[in-house]
Amino acid sequence: MTGNPILAPIPAPVLALSDVVKDYVGEAGTFRALHGVSMTVAHGELMAIMGPSGSGKSTLMNIIGCLDSPTTGIYRFEGTDTASLSERALARMRNSGIGFIFQSFNLLPRLSALGNVALPLVYSGLGKAEREAKAQALLAKVGLADKQRSRPAQLSGGQQQRVAVARALANAPKLLLADEPTGALDTKTGAEVLGLFKSLNREQRVTVVIVTHDPEVARATDRVVRIQDGRVFYDGPPTEAALYGHAEVAA
């Protein structure tokens, strides 16, 4: 699918959006949340998506995470047009190609921390022993080795988010998407989670895309994409102007 061996030295980007439009059709009519977004993310990038509330960041993340599909335009994941993928293939992608971290954690309340982390492994068909060993290792990696049996309700917000990170990493995805992962956390725990992303990116070359309102979070990344009213507004290094939104005024 990646095609011509002559072009092989140029690696295919992890994801490529071209002219992606998203319309929400409701009773009040159609609302265009994304007005033709195009961008490319290469392997190993650590980037932030910023923009005011309602600008379309989550809409974009959901499309990138294969939770939603564009109304028009093309989204390629590792060179494959996701529109051509079957439901089953999309499920497999969400399962092991992409790790998604939500602002509201989205852990299953009835399962223990271990059970939550092991759940993606259930859907990828691993046996019980293997699942548990892997989930234990992941929990240890995010510093929660002693909280395996705790239910989400028995964990602090930061701990819950770390469980969510461990869950997102379960099947060693190439791409980690985090929609305001630190939004519900205080500065210190937010910094810890961010540190986790950074080390994953540096040590394991996991591509990380973070949606954030926090300039300090974005400052730690290599690239900032600013969105306003469903359009890409700025795409470049985390300069002060980009971080604090002066670019919007400048443009």
Partner: protein, 405 residues
């Protein structure tokens, strides 16, 4: 994957204990009714066929007293209107193989130190032919012994056990109402009769002896019943008409006067019994099927509620890679678990009720393996059938919309 899903299905049911229990109620009642039905139906079938084979099917029993109903001779046998002369009149009729007058007397029998309340049957040697029931140890008594009022007795197995235990009863003596009888034989085992009567709990003695020694003076020439063997099952109806005609003449009944006797056709009795049982079975089957369907709809209803309540959970699962098939499987497993759990409890309840029923009605009910297997198979089908729609609804959710809910 299945192992984790089963564990999760279980924890989902446990999380809503009361709701799960109420949902299962329909299944429980339905399965219990079906199990009970099959147990009683099977038990009665066995009972009827063993009773028929034990009786000899070509048997008419004439009892003293009239009965308006054709079936059971309720209230019959109370008036002493059958006499020994009637037996001779009947014995010569066409199709009649043999006629055995019998009188039954409840007694307290004594053998050595043992004491046992049993029934003495006073009869003639024709009894052994008519009932096709003979001693398997020793011998029957003869016409001679009967006419001479011989003090000989043949014990049923139960009576022999109770009176003699491990000792050999042959040649020993049994005292009944002050008269001593010598045991000359032991009858073959016959088993239970209608209503769980132990037909082996008897002492058979010559009729003459019974009438003279054991029965009160007033009834010396009267007998309780006459068993008549008929040569062919097809001749039962004409023979019973001929017997009735002869008895009316011998008893000098005016035309129009009611019979002072009843001719019972046992085949008819067993037929009535079978059809009554069939009706009860049908009723239970109807209750069972309706309950099962209602139970299935209950499961569907609760699963739909569950899918709605857990929409967000479904969204999360899909977001981390659950395929539609996996989501459907999970909800199907939950429905299946509900129905099978209900079935298990229903089987237990049905078995308990069947045991209680067998004690109450005296029938030997039996819960067969095939009945239990059938119950589980039907319940599984119901779980899958009624769980399919809710599970499919869960599987059809769009991940993003489910997550937003």
């Amino acid at each position: 994957m299945i192992d984790a899903m089963l564990a999760e299905a279980w924890s989902a049911l446990i999380a809503n204990r009361l709701r799960s229990a109420l949902t299962m109620l329909g299944m429980i009642i339905g399965v219990a009714a079906v199990i009970l039905m099959l147990a009683i139906g099977g038990g009665v079938q066995k009972q009827v066929s063993s009773a028929i084979s034990g009786l000899g099917s070509n048997l008419l029993i004439i009892t003293a007293g009239s009965s308006k109903q054709g079936g059971f001779a309720s209230g019959a046998g109370t008036g002493a209107t059958l006499r020994l002369d009637d037996v001779d009149a009947i014995a010569h009729l066409k199709s009649v193989v043999a006629a055995a007058p019998t009188t039954q007397i409840p007694v307290q029998a004594v053998a050595g130190a043992a004491n046992w309340a049993t029934t003495v049957v006073g009869t003639t040697p024709a009894y052994f032919i008519v009932n096709d029931w003979r001693p398997d140890t020793g011998r029957a008594f003869s016409e001679m012994e009967d006419r001479a009022a011989g003090r000989v007795a043949i014990l049923g197995h139960t009576a022999a056990d109770k009176l003699f235990g491990a000792n050999d009863p042959m040649g020993a003596s049994v005292r009944v109402k002050g008269t001593s009888f010598t045991v000359i034989g032991i009858m073959a085992t016959r088993g239970q009769g209608f209503g769980g009567v132990d037909r082996d709990d008897v002492i058979i003695v010559p009729l003459t002896t019974a009438l003279r020694q054991l029965q009160g003076n007033a009834f010396r020439r009267s007998i309780r019943s006459i068993s008549v063997g008929i040569d062919d099952a097809d001749n039962l109806a004409p023979a019973s008409e001929r017997i009735a005609a002869v008895l009316r003449r011998v008893h000098h009944l005016e035309p129009g006067a009611p019979d002072d006797f009843t001719v019972n056709n046992l085949t008819a009795v067993t037929d009535t019994l079978s059809s009554t049982t069939a009706a009860i079975s049908l009723l239970l089957a109807a209750i069972g099927s309706i309950s099962l369907i209602v139970g299935g709809i209950g499961i569907m209803n609760i699963m739909l509620v569950s899918v709605t309540e857990r929409t967000r959970e479904i969204g999360i699962r899909m977001a981390i890679g659950a395929s539609r098939a996996a989501v459907r499987l999970q909800f199907l497993l939950e429905a299946l678990m509900l129905s099978l759990l209900g079935c298990g409890i229903g089987v237990g309840l049905g078995t308990g009720l069947a045991t209680a029923a067998s004690g109450a009605i005296g029938f030997d009910t039996s819960v067969t393996v095939s009945a239990v297997v059938t119950a589980f198979a039907v319940s599984a089908s119901i779980g899958i059938f009624f769980g399919w729609y809710p599970a499919t609804r869960a599987a059809k959710l769009s991940p993003i919309e489910a997550l937003r809910s």
